[in-house]
């Protein structure tokens, strides 16, 4: 867990206190406010609210109000202009501001002005979403190490107690009955009992593997959720079960002459 630095916590607390204070001043029974300077100025209440909540300095607000009043006066007519200027808010002369007057300053004696505000995200748009990630070391490597240990232990112990078969020397003149392929091909051998060898041994497995290989190009459904893939999942399950059942029958239920037998009657005819 990431620790939040102390100074950030403190800053957050201050900001929260300030927001609380602003809320109480807006609801307005108590006249105490954070910005005494803006409330004492001769603006109406709506503007003082916006001034206290916004970060625009008080003197800039005053100036914009003066400018607005001046433009309103000029729109009203040149004759009433002098009368309006008397009633408008007195603007302090620029020389009284902290800005030093010089030949290079702007209209109000300012040496800088705000051209534009670039909002975050308008130019630097971060497209990658943050992901919940963990370090491979130790999290993944430890899991992998444990699983390799488990599998090694399993293979080792199994090999200590169960020996690999070694029957008598290969003899071309003595065909064992039944003769069986390795277990993963027993499904195919089982098919041989039902179809012509070309169909059972070449066509069915060939077409099956080809379709399996092309699965991502056939299945165009973009969803990975099981509830959206009922057809694909059913088809694959039937396919896997088809082979599993054939391999089981070929392995355990086929006796001499590859005839169907029950292993509990006739015994096992199966070597790994």
């Amino acid at each position: 867990m990431v620790e939040i630095p102390e100074h950030l916590l403190r800053r957050a607390a201050e900001a929260r206190a300030k927001a609380e204070a602003a809320k109480t001043s807006k609801s307005g029974t108590t006249a105490q406010t954070a910005d005494a300077a803006t409330t004492t100025s001769t603006t109406n209440t709506a503007e003082s609210d916006s001034a206290s909540t916004s970060k625009i300095p008080a003197h800039l607000l005053e100036r914009s109000q003066a400018a607005r009043a001046a433009s309103a006066a000029s729109e009203a007519g040149p004759t009433s202009a002098t009368a309006d200027t008397n009633t408008k808010i007195p603007v302090q002369p620029p020389t009284k501001r902290t800005t030093p007057t010089g030949t290079l300053t702007g209209p109000a004696g300012h040496t800088q002005r705000l051209l534009t505000v670039v909002k975050s995200g308008s130019i630097q748009d971060v497209k990658a979403k943050p992901q919940d990630k963990v370090h491979v070391w130790p999290h993944l490597l430890a899991a992998e190490f444990v699983s390799t240990l488990v599998i090694t232990a399993f293979v080792f112990l199994f090999s200590v107690f169960v020996n690999a078969p070694l029957l008598e020397l290969a003899n071309f003149n003595q065909t064992p009955n039944p003769s069986k392929a390795p277990w993963y091909f027993l499904g195919l051998q089982e098919l041989l009992t039902m179809f012509h060898p070309m169909v059972a041994g070449v066509t069915i497995p060939g077409v099956g593997l080809l379709i399996l290989m092309l699965a991502p190009y056939i299945d165009k459904n973009p969803s990975k959720a099981p509830e959206d893939r009922k057809f694909a999942i059913s088809l694959m399950t039937i396919h896997l079960m088809f082979w599993a059942v054939l391999v089981m029958i070929g392995s355990f239920f086929r006796g001499p002459g590859f005839n169907f037998v029950f292993p509990w009657d006739a015994g096992l005819f199966f070597e790994l």
């Binding site: 992901q131 919940d132 990630k133 963990v134 370090h135 491979v136 070391w137 999290h139 993944l140 490597l141 899991a143 992998e144 699983s147 390799t148 599998i151 293979v155 080792f156 090999s159 200590v160 169960v162 020996n163 690999a164 078969p165 070694l166 029957l167 020397l169 290969a170 003899n171 065909t175 064992p176 003769s179 069986k180 392929a181 390795p182 277990w183 993963y184 091909f185 195919l188 051998q189 041989l192 060898p197 070309m198 059972a200 041994g201 070449v202 593997l209 290989m213 699965a215 991502p216 190009y217 299945d219 459904n221 973009p222 969803s223 990975k224 959720a225 099981p226 893939r229 999942i233 694959m236």
Partner: protein
């Protein structure tokens, strides 16, 4: 001068310090290793562990959190690879005691079991690990299908995966003949008879695979070379592509 009894631990410490600062030591134990002086467990060193290891850098430095969640299907693909390594190691051991000729193969296996130290154990491990690898590759494929992990962008890696499944079956099947016992001979007879029914090229396919019109000592040599050299060589290339594509396609697939 201090007395030798007092200075002995200090002496050892200076030697250890000098060894740990030597170029040989720092070349073997790269940054991130716990054997480097001043090691601390921090994100930087955790990243270095992966980046500075030829084996570990198959992995990215970081993975999504769900990828390390323990589940029934965790590591099936990785275990298939591990079983391949286990089979390579035990297989090399077996190669020292085996000659692929009809006259000697069975006797060599028999001698391996009866008079070679740990011979029986290593042969058993090779046999059972081979069956287990077929099973784990198959289960890995089923897991990938049920998670829909073959969907874009991973379509091509699924194709590579099916090729790897076929190569695994072929590796297992070619190894099946090598003990040259009744089980091997007749299992392979059944298998190759099926291949003989390939349309158009059936007889040629069977002739090339058997090195003759019927199984014999040439078949044994042929399948031995396929089993210990050619198919491992091919499967390693496809495995490299498979692992590389896993990284290129954005790590293992996300949760459902």
């Amino acid at each position: 001068m201090k007395s030798p009894i007092h200075s002995l631990p200090e002496h050892l410490r200076t030697i250890s310090d000098r060894v740990k600062k030597s170029q040989a030591w720092t070349s073997i134990f790269r940054p991130g290793s716990i054997f480097r002086p001043g090691y601390t467990d921090n994100p930087r060193n955790r990243s270095y562990v992966i980046m500075n290891s030829v084996l570990y850098h198959l992995h990215p430095v970081k993975v999504k959190r769900h990828a390390v969640k323990v589940s029934y299907t965790l590591c099936l693909g990785g275990l298939s690879f591990f079983l391949f390594i286990l089979l390579t190691v035990t297989g090399i051991f077996l190669m020292f005691f085996y000659r692929p000729t009809a006259a000697q193969a069975w006797d060599d296996i028999y001698a391996l079991q009866t008079s070679v130290t740990f011979g029986l154990l290593v042969r058993n491990m090779h046999r059972w690990a081979a069956h287990l690898m077929v099973l784990s590759v198959f289960l890995h494929m089923a897991r990938v299908f049920y998670h829909g992990a073959y969907k874009p962008p991973r379509e091509f890696n699924w194709v590579i995966g099916v090729i790897l499944l076929k190569l695994t079956l072929l590796l297992s099947f070619t190894g099946y003949l090598l003990p040259w016992d009744q089980l091997a001979l007749w299992a392979v007879t059944v298998g190759t008879n099926m291949m003989g029914y390939t349309p158009v090229f059936g007889d040629q396919v069977r002739f090339v695979l058997l090195g003759g019109v019927e199984i014999g000592t040439d078949t044994l040599l042929r399948w031995y070379v396929l089993h210990v050299l050619m198919l491992p060589f091919v499967i390693v290339i496809f495995m490299a592509i498979h692992f590389w594509r896993v990284r290129k396609d954005g790590g293992i697939s996300g949760p459902l």
